[in-house]
Symmetry: C2
Subunit: 220 residues, 2 copies
């Protein structure tokens, strides 16, 4: 079943969501109170309308409660962001994702019923810090507070050895779920697979075990 989305606020964040949802083939209603922005997205979204989302009548008129998911991407005007979110939840919109500028803003948004609060600058800052704090971890997926999947570049100490030869699973309690080698991906490599220098190992495990492995084998 195809879902209907509405994006309110077409700045860099809201605009990017609108563009990507459209690329993914979703129906997207784009709304902004700035005419230039509306015109910019008229050819990208399914519908682009000029309107002030703090005006309940406007939201009712477009039948906003029939949308499955509304994204409130108003940034700098905290009051408009909060008021819009409040009206959306009162009108019965099931999923509302709202952008917050700071922790106080986030708290208020959650209190009035926002289902998800996004902090693009803060969250991307955390991701980037995680990635650059070690030159060996490229990207990661957090599975829980204590488990992750991370990409680790194989150094000289790993290159030339087989997975079983390194005994990584028994020694560190972590698993190599895939290897990126140039443009190839080896999914679920066999224990006999030889690691090459520069391979990117996709490793799953407890954060502490991954860190122990990284520190001992990669950065020692």
């Amino acid at each position: 079943m195809k879902k209907d989305f509405a994006v309110i606020g077409l700045g860099r964040f809201g605009g990017s969501i609108c563009r990507r949802l459209s690329e993914l083939g979703m129906e997207v209603l784009a709304m902004d109170n700035n005419e230039e922005r509306v015109n910019e997205y008229a050819s990208i979204a399914s519908h682009a309308i000029l309107g002030d989302s703090t005006d309940e009548a406007v939201l009712k008129e477009i039948g906003i409660r029939n949308f499955d998911h509304v994204i409130v991407a108003i940034g700098d005007n905290i009051q408009a962001s909060i008021l819009t979110t409040l009206i959306l939840k009162e009108l019965g919109v099931k999923h509302v994702t709202a952008k917050a500028l700071n922790d106080y803003h986030e708290k208020v948004l959650l209190k009035i019923g926002a289902d998800v609060v996004a902090h693009p600058e803060r969250d991307m800052g955390i991701r980037i810090a995680n990635n650059i704090s070690t030159s060996t971890v490229l990207d990661y997926l957090e599975l829980s507070d204590e488990h992750s999947i991370v990409e680790i570049v194989a150094n000289e100490r790993l290159g030339g050895n087989t997975i079983i030869g390194l005994n990584i699973r028994a020694r560190y309690g972590i698993n190599i779920v895939a290897i990126k080698r140039g443009s190839d991906i080896i999914v679920s490599p066999l224990a006999s697979e030889k690691i090459w220098l520069g391979d990117i190992l996709i490793v799953i495990g407890a954060d502490t075990d991954i860190e122990r492995f990284r520190k001992k084998v990669i950065e020692d």
Copy 2:
């Protein structure tokens, strides 16, 4: 070996990077030309200094070329961001990550030598759009243009079956590398493992195969 970082611009993005790097135990020099921001980060970063990063003499004086990685997190003042990046590369800083506001800004930053350009609002917008376009995919890690690791919520059709019973690997060419069940994580589940309704399956494979699986088994 511990690396030294400098973060120039302590807005939400730069501030978040500074905070997270400090949490990770890195040495971080924080710099801003706004005294309030400098005071705010004095207790978080190793050093926090007041200064204008477009002034080459200031950067030289603090020995910026001895830092392993400098992050230019100046947002709205595109000219200051470009000039700062230019000076950093001319002074020989090896890794410069710079924040861009738009595609034009990005192009210029790359031309003058920025090593990585970050677009927090745009990139977080893409991530969020990917996640909300399907209610079944929670988060993902892109391994290549064509391969990903994604989190998929198990529905009634999967719950109660074993992995081997569903024959997922043979039928769809994808692999379950882990299962999140409440606060538990089952890494590399055996083929005999039974999937529960609501389990989060961590699946690796080609995007087309994952999509085929998702469409057929989850959203049909």
